[in-house]
């Protein structure tokens, strides 16, 4: 793999950039792999990457129905944070956040991780108590967060209105090293690195069946033929139930639409990410200058990647209330993704009833930020049979009633 650098770009400039090679190969599938990962989104590609990098397993194929990074990886609001309340969540999201810190260097691909700081506004007494609880929990989890007062919020976010008549800002939970990254680049960077390790990323290849024998996985049927494997990881956010059905089991999951939208670009005016959970909206400003906005999910099962308009209105209202200057900005583009919601709104990284099949799903609205940690833990689960990062996220927890519920700390999990 040719390394990317400023010098390489300068060298290529002299010959009109004719010398760049493919970022990833486009191979035909082999007959058999040790591990097949279904789903070339961020989570699937990261799983493959750490299988190779940490565990030396490179006989891996990543199978993708569409194009890599084309699902929720490419349609989220790019927020990265680890200020979670419950220990298992905090562990995997902080692992992810820490890996993001060095991901550009690790992958030799600039994913533009920007630890610009992230605020979660406290706008009711109840919410304030919830966030303070999170700060104390984070302290013992080794995660750097703090509670700041309304004036400090105003100093960090000059465009915010802290004196809204209905929900004045009482303070905020600040994670200084939370932020954003360039979502597409995360998928592309992992894909390039996986391909470089000799893994096969096979796009436009639809899985049509999962073959099992004696309760053990044998391989998959695809639009590009039969492919055998020893282990199979299903990492297909939005379609997890459909794949599970092929493998013969059911998941505690419902698929719903989540929407996001951006304004036209303006000059930089907000350097931190702000989440306002009482009023249900969050906003950051991209490096291009667009205000990137998201809100809550629809409540009904949906596979269309389109949501209901009234959520757009509700969230926009929340943000105009919080940032009055955006009223005269214009909405440029609105889109939706399909997210898997589990019974406790926390993800599933687990073995399944079928030996050799693993599932990574149920990230709900919070998947992007978890990508490196999720891939790291998932790779360990596949390679070693368990991982401290994933052990608490097994399917067994639903039978036991062992919820990992993040909504308890007053917030919604995004």
């Amino acid at each position: 793999m040719k390394r990317y650098s400023m010098f390489a770009v300068a060298r290529e400039a002299m010959r009109f950039h004719r010398g760049w090679e493919r970022a990833w190969r486009s191979p035909e599938p082999k007959k058999r792999y040790k591990v097949i990962v279904v789903g070339a989104g961020g989570h699937g590609l990261a799983t493959a990457y750490y299988l190779g990098k940490v565990h030396g397993i490179t006989d891996v194929a990543v199978i993708e129905k569409g194009w890599l990074g084309g699902g929720n990886t490419g349609r989220n609001t790019t927020i990265i944070r680890s200020n979670y309340l419950q220990d298992p969540s905090a562990a995997i999201y902080e692992k992810a956040r820490a890996l993001y810190e060095d991901l550009s260097q690790d992958l030799n691909y600039n994913v533009m991780f920007s630890p610009r700081g992230l605020l979660m506004l406290g706008q009711t007494e109840h919410e304030v108590r919830g966030y303070k609880r999170t700060v104390h929990a984070n302290r013992l989890q080794g995660i750097d967060t703090e509670w700041i007062g309304p004036q400090q919020v105003k100093d960090l976010v000059p465009i915010i209105n802290i004196d809204g008549p209905r929900y004045p800002v009482l303070g905020a939970l600040l994670q200084k090293r939370g932020g954003t990254a360039r979502h597409d680049a995360v998928a592309w960077g992992y894909a390039r690195a996986c391909s470089d390790m000799g893994m096969d990323i096979i796009q436009k290849c639809e899985v049509t069946g999962v073959r099992t024998e004696g309760g053990k996985v044998q391989g998959i049927s695809t639009s590009k033929g039969e492919i055998d494997c020893e282990q199979l990881a299903i990492v297909v956010a939005g379609h997890s139930s459909v794949m599970a059905e092929m493998a013969g089991f059911r998941l505690p999951i419902e698929s719903v639409a989540l929407q996001a939208w951006v304004s036209e670009p303006i000059k930089p005016c907000m350097d931190v990410v702000v989440m306002a959970n009482t009023v249900h909206g969050y906003m950051s400003q991209s490096d291009k200058g667009e205000m990137v906005i998201g809100g809550g999910t629809d409540g009904f099962n949906n596979y269309t990647q389109r949501g209901s308009w009234h959520h757009v209105e509700e969230t926009t209202r929340a943000l105009v209330e919080t940032f009055p200057i955006i009223s005269r900005l214009k909405m440029l583009r609105q889109w939706g993704g399909i997210v898997d919601m589990t019974g406790d709104r926390s993800p599933i990284l687990s073995k399944t009833p079928v030996e050799g099949i693993f599932v990574n799903c149920g990230w709900g609205t919070g998947g992007f930020k978890a990508i490196p940690g999720s891939g790291y833990g998932m790779a360990e689960l596949i390679a070693r049979g368990h991982s401290p990062l994933t052990d608490q996220f097994g399917l067994d927890r639903f039978k036991e009633g062992r919820f990992i519920d993040e909504s308890v700390a007053a917030g919604v999990a995004h």
């Binding site: 650098s5 390489a8 770009v9 002299m14 009109f16 090679e21 970022a23 084309g70 220990d87 562990a91 260097q105 691909y109 600039n110 991780f113 920007s114 630890p115 610009r116 009711t124 007494e125 966030y131 609880r133 999170t134 104390h136 013992l140 080794g142 465009i159 008549p165 209905r166 929900y167 597409d184 036209e264 670009p265 303006i266 000059k267 930089p268 009023v279 490096d287 291009k288 200058g289 389109r306 308009w309 209105e313 926009t316 209202r317 105009v320 209330e321 009055p324 200057i325 009223s327 005269r328 900005l329 214009k330 909405m331 440029l332 583009r333 401290p388 009633g401 919820f403 519920d405 700390a409």
Partner: protein, 984 residues
């Protein structure tokens, strides 16, 4: 250079001149001008800078597809960035400023990027800026961010109003061109309720400019008579300046109407958002002309051919004195004719096709214009304006065969139907090879609630580009002259070398060139979505209206596959950007969300209560006196209540009546404890769990008569619990005879609390509220003074306490009467915080503090409230699961700091060691923590591992900073452990 012509201009009113400014320079236009036509008319060809290379940019188009000519409009609170000049109507006093340059439009430091363009190809930032690690955040990103963004930042809150309105119709026709008019006529004559909407101020679309015959009449005459007929139909509603922004599921169309942009501050709503529910939508949205990709096609003065004739015919603006027309189709020759008709010069027509024999080319040739066939433009000369073009063979590699002086280039690469609305909800497209365009596939329309197609397409939007085709599709004869087929031209010349491709722009605003798309393909970004994201093609504020088709043609060519195999990116709403103000409308400030008010709210407001939002309610947190801190006010309220008497507005408490022969059985399923055995006249505290076993709500239940119970819920839980009850009654136990009613807002409820509360009630007279008649946990009803009261002897504070419910209409009067009578007893109101502290002093749990959705009653020492006799209740089975019966669940205890301080909110108790993820082990956390003015020190409740077995043990909690707080595990009841005070 561009200028205003001395005559003509079908849309302008020369009798109404308008003054405006551009970058402070005074300029003039006419009523009917757009900002763009007025700028061009005033000679302003260069109007902005591009996003990445800061290249000079001029006006390219005349409509919604314009990528370049965006300005800041207005000032101060009415400043608006990124305003598209081609769709903004000129108004008196408009202040416009160009964007994305420093220090000035003419001299822009950022243009240095253009010098280094070779070093800044698509995606260069993914390959660079990586070392050292901290450099991205601290060095590179700040620089990139500084140069990022287009428009300026509004500095103040928006002073304007916006509104939202519903509309319903059988048929919505989008687009007021001739196809839309014809479709509306047809539907209107059929008696349908029709809405016809047009995004511009003018009916007729392109046809008045392009001309032709419709139904035997001159096109303009046909349009005029169509408008007369439509206006006369009562079932037809027509609106201009109303754009269909998106077609959403089940025929829900978001319309965006411009009302007062040209009259800022006149008090009318600025924009109106329409929520149109249409039985069927007909899109007649026309087509957009495509640019051609040749080197220097972004130099100011290079424009779409259709735009050039629009400016001439509609606004009497000449984009240039000597124009070179470059085309691959016949339609563009109309521009040559329009230029000639205006008395201007066509220096040459450059046609990429080898031969041109159509009626239109012949007409142009007949007027003495040179038509160069099989030719292309090798490059445009000039930087801030066009000075000439180099002509080459289209089939060649760009070797110049001729240089032609000119100051304007009109280009046409053919037309693309506007298929956005069709596509928003999944309508599919088909590639029309002959016309080189994607057009709607009528066999795969977007489908509605009934599964059938909810939209159809007419006119140019359907790919029927000529007038005769467009109207023929609607059964109307029309003539506009034969047109020969176009020759697809995606790159000019066909063999353009790198040096030319690096200057051939696809996306003008984002500076995406032919070479960028080819680079993306070479690097494996083969999906059209990859290319779009890697190069930012089509991601600018025009959303690729000009660039997308050209871009994916280049991509297809690079991949060696046909265009339909590449496909399009997804069309997403809105069609053009819509203001967030319109999306918000009136829902801001006090009207942001509905405010629920208790009958006593006005009294709290008058007393200057400090508020706490609780759901949509706003409850008094405390009532600070002048100069008093909130903390002091709370302490005073508590002390006074415990010493004298306090009053709480408890009207927000949920009050649900459950009635019927099976009501007792039902409540036994709903509550963990037994409610069917509750005697009439008595009250019982009850717990509700969800099916996961988690404690969900609590409250006092009173049995009103043999088959009627009144269930009190938490303030935030009333609606949810009522819905919950109905869910079970309607969906599971539908044969049970039970009726429920949520009477929360029908009653005002006042808690009168404290040792002098009985005396206060007795002062009002009427009912007997003595201990004998109304002992603890009983209720009674009758006249309290002049009020129809139901009084519950219940207590959430540990004091002698009455909760008095009266019809909502009597609430304020009762409150005031109690205040007057209580004055001598020292009565004071108290707020939610005093309520919280007093209940904590008594060790009572609070839903939302001690519970958080993961806590079961067993955790809170509430086993006494779990019926052992019942075989089932909601949550019972769940509580039998292994994690619920785990002896190591954290349990509720009281906590007392050794130094009397208050443990911080949310504090956790670490345990020894670390878990497998390196996190400190924990053994508990605080759930409620307060300063107790009654005890005189900090008190707390918390959930602690094996807590009830560790009474007296001291453990550490996390403090505000690094230090730890030591606390002793104690009984959670801090005040009046034996309950003597509430039982007097």
């Amino acid at each position: 250079m561009s200028t205003r012509l001395s005559k003509g201009g079908r849309l302008i009113d020369r009798a109404k001149p308008l003054a405006f400014t551009f970058n402070g320079k005074p300029m003039r236009g006419f009523a009917g001008d757009t900002l763009a036509s007025a700028l061009l008319g005033g000679g302003q060809v260069m109007v902005g800078r591009s996003f990445k290379y800061h290249r000079p940019r001029g006006i390219v188009a005349s409509g919604a597809e314009e990528p370049n000519a965006l300005v800041g409009l207005g000032r101060n609170a009415r400043f608006e960035p990124d305003q598209r000049t081609t769709t903004t109507e000129l108004f008196e006093g408009a202040e416009t400023t160009s964007q994305n340059h420093w220090p000035s439009l003419d001299f822009d430091i950022g243009e240095i990027n253009n010098t280094f363009y070779k070093f800044l190809p698509a995606g260069f930032y993914y390959k660079t800026f990586m070392a050292p690690r901290a450099a991205w955040k601290h060095l590179f990103e700040p620089i990139i961010r500084k140069s990022a963004g287009l428009g300026g930042v509004p500095k103040e809150a928006d002073p304007d109003r916006y509104e939202q309105v519903y509309a319903h119709c059988d048929v919505l026709v989008v687009g007021g061109g001739v196809a839309g008019l014809a479709a509306a006529l047809k539907e209107g004559r059929a008696g349908k309720r029709v809405w016809l909407i047009e995004q511009t101020p003018n009916w007729g679309g392109r046809t008045p400019v392009d001309g032709g015959q419709i139904d035997g009449h001159d096109a303009q005459n046909w349009i005029d008579s169509a408008l007369v007929e439509l206006s006369s139909m009562e079932n037809v509603t027509m609106r201009t300046r109303l754009m269909a922004a998106g077609l959403h599921d089940h025929g829900y169309v978001i319309g965006y109407e411009n009302l007062a942009d040209t009259t800022p501050g006149d008090g009318r709503p600025r924009h109106r958002l329409w929520r149109i529910r249409a039985g069927h939508t007909i899109t007649a949205t026309g087509a957009i002309e495509r640019p051609l990709a040749f080197a220097g096609n972004d130099v100011p003065g290079v424009m779409l051919a259709s735009a050039v004739r629009d400016y001439i015919v509609n606004w009497a603006v000449s984009p240039g004195d000597r124009t070179v027309l470059v085309t691959n189709n016949d339609d563009a020759y109309r521009t040559a004719l329009a230029i000639l008709d205006a008395g201007l010069t066509v220096s040459a027509v450059v046609d990429a096709r080898e031969e041109t024999h159509g009626a239109l080319p012949e007409a142009v040739k007949a007027r003495g214009v040179r038509v160069l066939e099989g030719r292309g433009i090798a490059k445009v000369l000039g930087r801030k304006g066009v000075s000439g073009v180099e002509i080459c063979a289209q089939a060649g590699e760009g070797g110049a065969v001729e240089m032609i002086d000119c100051d304007c280039v009109a280009m046409s690469g053919g037309w693309s139907p506007v298929v956005h609305l069709w596509s928003h909800c999944g309508g599919k497209l088909t590639w029309d090879d002959a016309r080189a365009m994607f057009r709607p596939d009528p066999n795969r329309p977007p489908t509605g609630a009934d599964g059938t197609g909810m939209a159809t397409v007419v006119g140019a939007a359907n790919g029927d580009l000529t007038l005769s085709e467009a109207m023929g599709g609607l059964g109307i004869g029309a003539a506009s002259g034969e047109e020969a087929p176009l020759a697809p031209v995606w790159m000019m010349p066909a063999g353009a070398p790198d040096a030319l491709r690096f200057k051939s722009f696809l996306d003008y605003q984002n500076d995406v060139k032919v070479s960028d798309v080819q680079l993306a393909a070479r690097e494996g970004y083969e999906s059209v979505e990859h290319t779009k994201r890697y190069t930012t093609l089509g991601m600018a504020t025009d959303q690729g209206k000009l660039s997308n088709i050209n871009g994916l043609a280049i991509l297809s060519d690079a991949l060696g596959q046909p265009i339909p195999a590449t496909g399009t990116t997804t069309f997403r709403p809105p069609y053009t950007p819509i203001s967030l103000g319109a999306v918000t409308a009136e829902a801001k400030g006090e009207l942001f969300q509905p405010l629920r008010r208790t009958p006593i709210q006005s009294w709290h407001e008058a007393k200057g209560a400090h508020w706490e939002p609780v759901g949509h309610w706003r409850r008094p947190y405390c009532y600070p006196k002048s100069g008093e801190s909130h903390r002091d006010a709370v302490n005073r309220e508590i002390t006074n209540t415990r010493k004298n008497v306090g009053m709480l507005d408890a009207s927000t408490l949920g009050k649900i009546v459950v009635k019927g022969p099976d009501a007792g059985k039902f409540l036994d399923m709903l509550y963990t404890n037994m409610m069917s055995t509750l005697p009439v006249g008595k009250c019982r505290y009850g717990l509700m769990c969800n099916e996961n076993g988690f404690l969900m709500d609590d409250g006092v239940v009173a049995r009103l008569d043999e088959d009627t119970w009144l269930c009190h819920t938490t303030s935030g839980g009333a609606d949810h619990i009522h819905g919950w009850m109905e869910d079970w009654l309607q969906c599971e136990w539908w044969d049970w005879k039970v009726y429920t009613a949520n009477l929360t807002e029908q009653y005002a409820q006042i808690a009168v609390v404290g040792p002098k509360s009985r005396e206060l009630l007795e002062r009002l007279g009427g009912m007997d509220v003595s201990k004998e008649t109304l002992p603890f946990m009983k209720w009674t009803e009758g006249k309290l003074g002049a009020f129809d009261a139901r009084i519950f002897r219940i207590s959430f504070s540990g004091e002698l306490s009455y909760e008095i419910a009266v019809p909502a209409s009597q609430g304020l009067a009762l409150w005031q009467a109690l205040m007057v009578e209580g004055e001598a007893l020292g009565v004071m109101p108290y707020g939610t915080e005093a309520l919280h502290v007093m209940r904590a002093e008594k060790g009572f749990i609070m839903i939302g503090d001690e519970t958080d959705g993961t806590v079961i009653p067993q955790d809170l020492g509430l086993n006494w409230a779990l019926s052992k006799k019942k075989t089932d209740y909601l949550g019972k089975r769940a509580q039998e699961r292994s994690h619920m019966t785990d002896p190591n669940r954290w349990k509720l205890v009281g906590l007392e700091t050794l130094d009397g301080s208050v443990i911080p909110d949310g504090s956790h108790a670490p345990a020894d060691g670390f878990n497998a993820n390196g996190q400190r082990n924990t053994q508990g956390r605080v759930t409620s923590t307060y300063y107790s003015p009654t005890i005189g020190k900090g008190i707390a409740m918390g959930l602690v591992l094996n807590g009830p077995d560790r009474m007296g043990e001291v453990i550490e909690f996390t403090g505000e900073g690094e230090e730890m707080v030591k606390a002793r595990i104690v009984d959670p009841v801090f005040y009046d452990k034996d309950g003597e005070k509430q039982n007097v």
